[in-house]
Amino acid sequence: MNAMETYQIYLTASAVLFTTGLAGVFMARHFFRRIVATKIMGAGVFLSLVSFAERDALEFADPVPHAMVITGIVVAVSAAAFALALARRIHQLTGEHDFTTDS
Amino acid sequence: MSVADVIAIVLISAGCFFFLAGTVGLLRLPDLFSRLHALTKADNLGLGLVAAGMAIYMANPWAALKLFFIWIFTLLASSTACYLISRFAREQAGVTANSGKEDER
């Protein structure tokens, strides 16, 4: 096999990031950490998209995944901001910061 | 390799040394204030040297001007951030110099 291409390195990293994030979502308790974990999962997805864009590069890298990732970053941050607002509100009203009490 | 390249390499290496020194300071110094001191002083100098080296390497006045402004605005932002962090630490979080045991945990 040839030397590893750039996109293969980052694609492998994206798989590890996605898995790390997924494990974090399931295993972390605190709202705050779960939100961060979903962000890391999302980063893994974006990294794989951009890696594929680099693989399909001609004169420039495939712009469609790039545009999707930019859109995705903004949407993911909006969703995370909303999740964070919910978490803060729950914390302010009930003092809870995880879902352990009713499970 | 031209003289300009050699100067650029020397400047960028010196800049990297100051970044390294700032990081060592961040990790090794005992309390918040001396760490901030290490970070802002050493890193700003390091960034300045790296920017100067890059400007010489690129040999383009427009790029050099952009690098200069990047350095100036980073200086401004990091010194302000340093001031705000230390003011908050002193006035609201009650951190004093020599109360630097928090990293032992």
Binding site: Q8, F18, A43, E54, H66, A67, A85, R88 | -
Partner: protein, 337 residues
């Protein structure tokens, strides 16, 4: 040589992600998340995705990081030492014994959650297999994007995709930001802001905000215009303008109350609304949804980008200001049960 830079960056980003999720305190979690985002931005740049790098560093690490830091005031107040917030998630172990990775995870449970880990392992194996085995080059949509660039009204392929080929996505994205803002308002008090007539004159922050705010506005406008030719564009500009709003807000200027409420509403909805009206106008003219007339495509895209950037910047500022004021020191509101 350059392969090693990529391997180093990839390893660093994974290591930071793991450290971020296993950090013993929430504050460490936030700052490692910052570092993670910035490392990722370097990875985007290495992959030739400069637009994505700017967006990630500015929104993914910067803006979200600021929101996370602000949330720390609720979850981990600075007065109590940083480790005290460990008690919340270390049901099984005290902060003293959970010195490292064990603390933030489910220390209280005897068995590991096997199903999620199994799913994670399968996903991992599949993705890695795709990465290493399925080697092919060329393809994708690059060729199509390249062919049509001359008819898109801009010279930068990513901007062409965002604002022309796939404007539908971008339009809805502006909508998502707006909906997120409304949802966040709904979670709190409905989006009213305390009137701040009094400017707190910090001797350093106030003059710095006077210098930096115009610079941020200028660089934002520059990036917006640059998007036509090079990496840059509406989102990057929006984040810089949003950063300007947040900086002014934090420096004590009455950002949220300086305009009448209705002006804020116009500002927040302008991007989404004008985008939609233009789309409808083209459709009624016989074209497809968002099919710009060829002669005016460049100018129309610039108009839409400017309005979208203004709306997103206003939304980001409002989200931050609202977050900031969620932490009311006089939190005497009666919880509705």
């Amino acid at each position: 040589m350059s392969v090693w830079i990529d391997i180093l960056l990839a390893t660093l980003s994974v290591a930071l992600a793991v450290r971020c999720l296993t950090a013993p305190t929430l504050a460490q979690c936030v700052f490692l998340f910052f570092a993670f985002g910035l490392t990722l931005a370097l990875a985007w740049a290495r992959l030739g995705a400069v637009d994505v790098a700017i967006a990630e560093a500015a929104i993914g690490a910067g803006f979200l990081g600021v929101l996370l830091i602000d949330a720390l005031r609720d979850f981990a107040p600075a007065k109590e030492a940083t480790v005290e917030d460990a008690e919340g998630y270390a049901a099984g172990g005290s902060a003293a014994e959970g010195s490292a990775a064990g603390v933030p995870l489910r220390a209280g449970r005897a068995a590991l959650p096997l199903l999620p880990l199994a799913i994670a392992a399968v996903v991992f194996v599949l993705l890695t297999a795709e990465a290493v085995l399925n080697v092919r080059d060329g393809g994708g949509l690059t060729e199509l994007a390249q062919e049509n660039l001359a008819r898109s009204g801009v010279d930068h392929p990513v901007t062409a995709v965002l604002l022309n080929y796939r404007s539908y996505d971008t339009w809805l994205e502006v909508g998502v930001v707006l909906i997120a803002l409304l949802a966040i308002f709904a979670v709190g008090n409905g989006g009213t802001f305390a009137r701040r007539d009094h400017v707190t004159h910090d001797p350093v922050l106030e003059p710095v905000s006077r210098i930096l705010a115009p610079v941020l506005f200028l660089i934002g406008g520059f990036l917006l215009f640059l998007g036509k030719y090079e990496p840059g564009g509406a989102f990057q500009a929006a984040v810089l303008w949003g950063a300007m709003g947040i900086l002014l807000y934090l420096a004590g200027w009455p950002v949220m109350t300086c305009l009448p409420r209705v002006w804020w509403q116009v500002l927040l909805t302008a991007g989404f609304g004008v985008f939609m009206l233009l789309g409808l106008a083209f459709m009624s003219g016989g074209g497809a949804w968002f099919e710009y007339p060829l002669a005016h495509a460049g100018n129309l895209i610039l108009l839409i980008e400017t309005l979208a950037a203004l709306s997103i910047a206003a939304a980001l500022t409002a989200i931050f200001a609202f977050f900031h004021e969620m932490h009311a020191p006089d939190a005497t509101e009666t919880p509705e049960k």
